[in-house]
């Protein structure tokens, strides 16, 4: 187990590193000019441009820029800008080009919003999806089952942002049945926190639920036709125990894999949901930083998403080995 963890963490770090290099490289391959963006004016005086470049460290060689970035991550670094020295302790993600704030602070601010959003939606999509999927699997072939499968297909084939936008528009603005999205820290006011998230949770959760209905239905249909399910029924176990204990346990294994990766992906920024419901999460930050060529922020968000992804992979593998005794972590 220790050996497994050690090996996995090393491979995870290398994945994160490669992702950073790739992001950095892509940023400079594209014809981007953060300094121009900051300067703003169309006819930015060249010396002003050079000044900004120097201030941002963009005048240094590319490799140097990257190594300084890494150094900051691991050991912290000191920025000198216009004679002012600023200490940035490790893990230092640098300062935003755009508004000169520490990227770490910006991420810290955004993260709780995204985590709140994703956690709620994840609970909905897993519980509702698996429950409905299992029920459908048990009744497979019936009219109800077919209707369900068709309707999940229809919902999934509409682009997500259209569904989300429509719901937001109709149910929170034209006919305000549901509360509008709004960020309040749960520590300040749990009630307001919930109220502000109900609609995005439902939208993000339920739309994704349709996929989970299909995954878990498929997985359950398969596990219900296994020989050991027949054995369980032959023992005299009730239908309920057979379905929700014996069959569900194996059926969950593939569902959990997809779930882990989905959650990681959503944590990296549920861009549409955050935008439509006006939640100041990571996704919004990603959007803004892209528009502004704000390299430190882009790097920061990429870093955090790749960490989420590798962590999710690791967690899925560990959960796997807990559910399935045949899987040994090695």
């Amino acid at each position: 187990m220790l050996y497994f963890l050690g090996r996995r963490i090393i491979s995870a770090l290398s994945v994160v590193f490669v992702t950073l290099v790739a992001t950095f490289a892509l940023f400079f391959v594209a014809p981007t000019d953060p300094a121009g963006a900051i300067c703003g004016a169309r006819n930015c005086p060249p010396d002003r441009l050079a000044e900004i470049r120097a201030g941002l460290g963009l005048d240094e060689p590319k490799v140097k820029q990257f190594t300084s970035y890494l150094e900051g991550l691991v050991a912290g670094r000191t920025y000198v800008n216009g004679g002012v020295e600023r200490d940035c302790a490790a893990p230092c993600l640098g300062y935003s080009f755009k508004n000169d704030r520490p990227v770490l602070d910006m991420l810290k601010e955004r993260l709780p919003v995204t985590i709140s959003l994703v956690a709620g939606a994840a609970v909905i999509m897993l519980t509702v999806g698996v429950t409905i999927g299992s029920m459908a699997a048990k009744r497979r072939g019936t009219a109800g089952d077919r209707a369900l499968v068709t309707s999940t297909l229809i919902v999934s084939s509409i682009p997500y942002y259209i569904v989300a936008l429509m719901i937001s528009l109709y149910l929170t603005i034209f006919y305000p049945i549901l509360p509008r999205g709004q960020w309040t820290s749960p520590f300040d006011s749990p009630g307001k926190w919930i109220a502000g998230f109900v609609t995005p949770w439902l939208v993000l959760g339920l739309v994704n639920t349709t996929q989970y209905v299909r995954y878990s239905r498929g997985s359950m249909v398969e596990s219900l036709s296994e020989d050991y399910i027949r054995t369980a029924r032959a023992k005299g176990l009730s239908d309920r125990v057979v379905t929700y204990k014996h069959a569900l346990r194996t059926a969950l294994i593939p569902v959990i894999t997809i779930f882990g990766l989905d959650v990681a992906g959503m944590l990296a920024g549920a861009i549409f949901t955050e935008r439509i419901f006006d939640l100041p999460g990571l996704g919004q930050l990603v959007l803004q930083s892209l528009v502004n060529y704000d390299l430190p922020v882009i790097m920061g968000t990429v870093l955090i998403s790749s960490i989420f992804l590798v962590a999710a992979n690791l967690v899925v593998d560990i959960v796997y080995s807990l559910i399935d005794p045949r899987v040994r972590l090695s």
């Binding site: 187990m1 050996y3 040994r328 090695s330």
Partner: protein, 352 residues
């Protein structure tokens, strides 16, 4: 049902020796986590197998599941590269040949698999399945492929009109015939038949066995016939090798192996086969019941590998590995790997 009963021709004793297998070994490395470190172990799937196969002959390879029969077959056809040992095909050692140099030999050595369901690509038509090896080996002119496929289908007793069908339109026995036709397409000299009838019902099994016999007699193809059914092996093979845990424990002419087996494991195997004879008044044969399970090939017992289940085992069995050798009383070609080998008669049932 044909009523003409034809004896199967024994392979002529002066026939050319096609295959010489010498001390063939296959050790699969496996990795296991053990705390912080990782141990590397090996599965000794096949550990020193030797035999000869003459043109037109048929050698039976029997033994329990996991004893290395399929692995041996796969090495001979070079679907696996042996860890060590030699596979001499007409004098050329093909055990370590590179893929490029191997090609002419691949044609000569064909394999038929056990599972008639998974061994055929369900998305290819029968015609495609059979003609692929023809094309790979450039054995047929363009435009003549279909004719050859139909000829082969007819040869294995299938309707040549069915060449455009997919495997799922055929029954298990018919699929096995397709697999055989595919092997025959390249006119091989040796066919490794890995449990070709194990998945079939007894009535269908007999149909396929007869087909194999025809091929052997009419085309002179030599067979390595892998099976765990002792009855079909006795029917089809003139020599039999009994394997246990990666090694051949007894080998010899069919009459000797079935009539006077010397190795305790062979004796147990024969006596365990259920017997139809008793019901027709033939006195029941002696019963030998093995206890326990086959040990793991990762960590096989020292000395004689059978000793953990052997009722004759003594101290020497744990320390000294018995060699596969002829005993003074044995007929030529009959060898057993046991310190206390001793023929036991009357173990074979009328049918088994």
């Amino acid at each position: 049902m044909s009523d003409t009963v034809r004896p199967i021709d024994q392979a002529p004793s002066n026939a050319e020796t096609l295959l010489q297998i010498r001390d063939l070994k296959m050790h699969f490395p496996i990795k296991e986590a053990a705390g912080l470190a990782r141990t590397k172990k090996v599965v000794q799937a096949v550990d020193g197998v030797s035999f000869d196969l003459k043109a037109g002959a048929s050698l039976g390879l029997v033994g329990e599941s996991g004893c290395g029969k399929s692995t041996t077959g796969r090495m001979i056809t070079r679907l696996l590269t042996p860890t060590s040992g030699q596979i001499l095909f007409k004098g050329t050692d093909i055990a370590r040949l590179k893929e490029k140099d191997l090609r002419p030999f691949r044609r000569q050595l064909q394999i038929v698999f056990q599972d008639p369901y998974s061994s055929l690509n369900p998305r290819q038509t029968v015609s495609n399945i059979i003609s692929t090896p023809l094309r790979v080996h450039n054995l047929v002119k363009k435009g003549k492929e279909l004719a050859r496929v139909q000829e082969l289908l007819e040869r294995v007793g299938l309707n040549p009109e069915h060449h455009n069908r997919y495997p799922n339109e055929f029954s298990g026995g018919q699929r096995q015939r397709i697999g055989i036709a595919r092997a025959l397409a390249v006119e091989p000299e040796v066919i490794i038949a890995d449990e070709p009838v194990s998945a079939l019902d007894v009535s269908i099994q007999a149909q396929v066995m007869n087909l194999l016999e025809d091929l052997r007699r009419d085309l002179g193809i030599a067979f390595v016939f892998i099976a765990h059914d002792l009855g079909v092996v006795r029917h089809f093979c003139d020599t039999v090798a009994v394997m246990y845990l990666g090694k051949i424990v007894e080998q010899g002419p069919r009459e000797q192996i079935y009539g006077a087996p010397q190795h305790p494991y062979t004796q147990a195997l024969l006596s365990a086969a259920p017997d139809l004879g008793t019901i027709r008044g033939i006195p029941p044969k002696e019963r030998i019941r093995l206890v326990g399970d086959v040990p793991s090939p990762i960590d096989p017992p020292s000395g004689c590998r059978f000793r953990t289940r052997c009722w004759k085992a003594e101290d020497i069995c744990a320390t000294q590995e018995p060699l596969l050798e002829g005993k003074p009383q044995s007929t030529p070609g009959h060898a057993a790997a046991c310190h206390f080998a001793e023929p036991k008669l009357d173990l074979t049932a009328a049918t088994a």
